[in-house]
């Protein structure tokens, strides 16, 4: 009979955190929606400016997602426990989601802020996010294209660590190649006028917890799938004569 082998079963703590996060989101979401709707409309940029309450908060998910992936990958390389690898996958998938949303809302805001024709701007932050998106994509493709579950986990962990070094490196480089930020006004540093602070704060909180919730949820799904696969493999192996 196979003895349980992985690290102490995190199932209970995961269930509990899911419940807590879930309730938090249930409470925060209507507050968020209300705050955004009732926020004052910017004189200059109009309703579009309200993307301020969505786009920057998404950054938590996009960037933290990768950090989680890298750290979980590092743990996997050290301890070889599948549970860490599942966390890495969760980080990558949820992170990609948030990153994609950033890349969609970014241009919408740019268009709103600078008028027609400005769907894309070489703003340092947006450029970095685009690069991050490609790194995410590479990570996911690496996983699908590598044969062998364990090898995929190992190589993905390596790439995750590489990627996380890539981000600050590119930030620095993009900053240096400063000529790219053609626009005098950086999107991210638009000053928060009166009445904008609250929705901004609520937005940050909500999307941060949304990220946490989705991350833990995806992690749980991954762990369950793993457990199922193991049980099936065990059954397939058939009765075995042990000493």
């Amino acid at each position: 009979m196979a003895a349980p082998h992985s690290a102490p079963d995190p199932a209970d703590s995961i269930q509990r955190s899911l419940r807590v996060l879930g309730w938090l989101l249930v409470l925060l979401s209507p507050a968020y929606a209300w705050a955004v709707i009732t926020a004052p409309i910017d004189r200059v940029q109009g309703v579009m400016q309200k993307i301020l309450y969505v786009h920057p908060p998404l950054a938590y998910g996009a960037y933290l997602g990768f950090v989680v992936t890298a750290v979980a990958g590092g743990l996997f390389l050290w301890r070889q426990q599948a549970v860490h690898d599942q966390l890495a996958i969760a980080g990558a998938e949820v992170g990609t989601l948030f990153c994609t949303l950033m890349l969609i809302t970014g241009p919408i805001w740019a268009r709103g802020a600078w008028g027609p024709g400005n769907w894309w701007v070489w703003d340092p932050r947006l450029t970095l996010t685009l690069l991050l998106w490609f790194v995410y994509l590479a990570y996911l493709l690496l996983r699908s294209f590598t044969e062998g579950d364990e090898r995929a986990a190992r190589l993905a962990s390596i790439y995750g660590i590489l990627g996380v070094a890539l981000i600050p490196l590119n930030y620095w480089i993009i900053d240096l190649a400063g000529g790219r930020a053609q626009h005098p006004e950086n999107i991210e540093q638009g000053s928060l006028g009166a009445g904008m602070g609250m929705p901004f704060l609520v937005g940050n909180l909500t999307l941060f917890f949304a990220f946490a919730y989705l991350l833990v949820l995806r992690w749980r799904v991954g762990l369950l799938q793993n457990a199922l696969a193991e049980a099936e493999a065990e059954a397939d192996r058939g009765p075995q004569r042990a000493a």
């Binding site: 196979a2 082998h5 599948a82 986990a153 193991e230 192996r237 058939g238 075995q240 004569r241 000493a243």
Partner: protein, 275 residues
């Protein structure tokens, strides 16, 4: 060539769906000759790779202990730093299914490269000596891409021992060899063993296993199910260490469905499975 003892407790290798090894206990003394038998997919090659320092077990303790008066811990349990593995790799020689040779290089160049890779003496005199030992002295300047399977196999062995390892690991070395080459290989291996090396051979052919080894570990789907030795223990009912008996044993496991009756196999002393 300092003797190395290999010891494992609950050694397992698994990830998700795939379980190659499930809790194996073993102890291999320096100078022993052990055969690892089992059907395909039993985990034999995986175990050998762990011995070679190519893989880390996902659970359990695996130790390679160098015996130089004081036992120095070389290996480590799952999770501890792999400092030891780099040294373990220097103490073992590995001959796998593939020859590990570069077709564009000559025999001597291949051997020189292997020597330098392993940090061993790569002087032409020594290399030529080694080639002569394996009957390849006439081909030392020929590109290995032109070698026959038997010649390549011999060079692969030369490669594996160029750094004087105390443990020699072979994974199905007799595959693809004709009877003559197989005989030659068998005697070569016995010769190598005679010099005090530990020999561990993975094979699915019990005949060869019995020829080369004193005992055998029998694996089935990742578990150590039988531990058969030439030396029968008093009172225990052992499977005779003979090819036919082993063949029957393997066949029984290949059929796989629940044989609950005792086969009279001496599995008690190795601690059998880890489950």
């Amino acid at each position: 060539m300092t003797p190395v003892r290999l010891r494992g407790e609950g050694v397992a290798k698994r990830f998700g769906r795939v379980t190659a090894l499930r809790g194996i206990d073993f102890e291999i003394e320096p100078g022993e000759a052990v055969a690892i038998l089992g059907a395909n997919g039993a985990g034999k090659s995986t175990l050998l790779r762990i011995f070679a320092g190519l893989s880390r077990p996902s659970e359990g303790r695996f130790e390679a202990i160098r015996e130089v008066g004081l036992a120095e811990r070389e290996g480590g349990a799952n999770g501890s730093a792999d400092l030891a593995r780099p040294d373990l790799r220097g103490a073992v020689g590995y001959v796998g299914h593939a020859t590990l040779l570069y077709g564009e290089l000559t025999a001597r160049e291949n051997l020189a490269f292997a020597a330098r890779l392993q940090g061993a003496d790569a002087s032409p005199a020594r290399l030529d000596g080694l080639l002569a030992e394996l009957g390849l002295q006439d081909f030392s300047s020929r590109r290995t891409g032109t070698f026959s399977r038997g010649m390549a196999q011999r060079l692969a062995i030369a490669r594996a021992i160029v750094h004087e390892p105390s443990v020699l690991l072979l994974d199905e070395p007799f595959t693809g060899l004709d009877a003559g080459s197989a005989e030659r290989l068998s005697s070569q291996l016995s010769g190598l063993r005679a010099r005090g090396r530990t020999l561990i051979v993975v094979t699915h052919d019990p005949q060869r296993g019995v020829e080369l080894a004193d005992r055998a570990l029998v694996l089935d789907r990742g578990l150590l199910v039988a531990h058969v030795a030439r030396q029968a223990r008093p009172g225990a009912e052992d499977v005779p260490f003979a090819a036919e008996a082993l063949q029957a044993l393997l066949a029984r496991f290949a059929q796989s469905v629940g044989s609950t009756g005792s086969v009279g196999v001496d599995s008690a002393d190795a601690g059998g499975s880890g489950a």
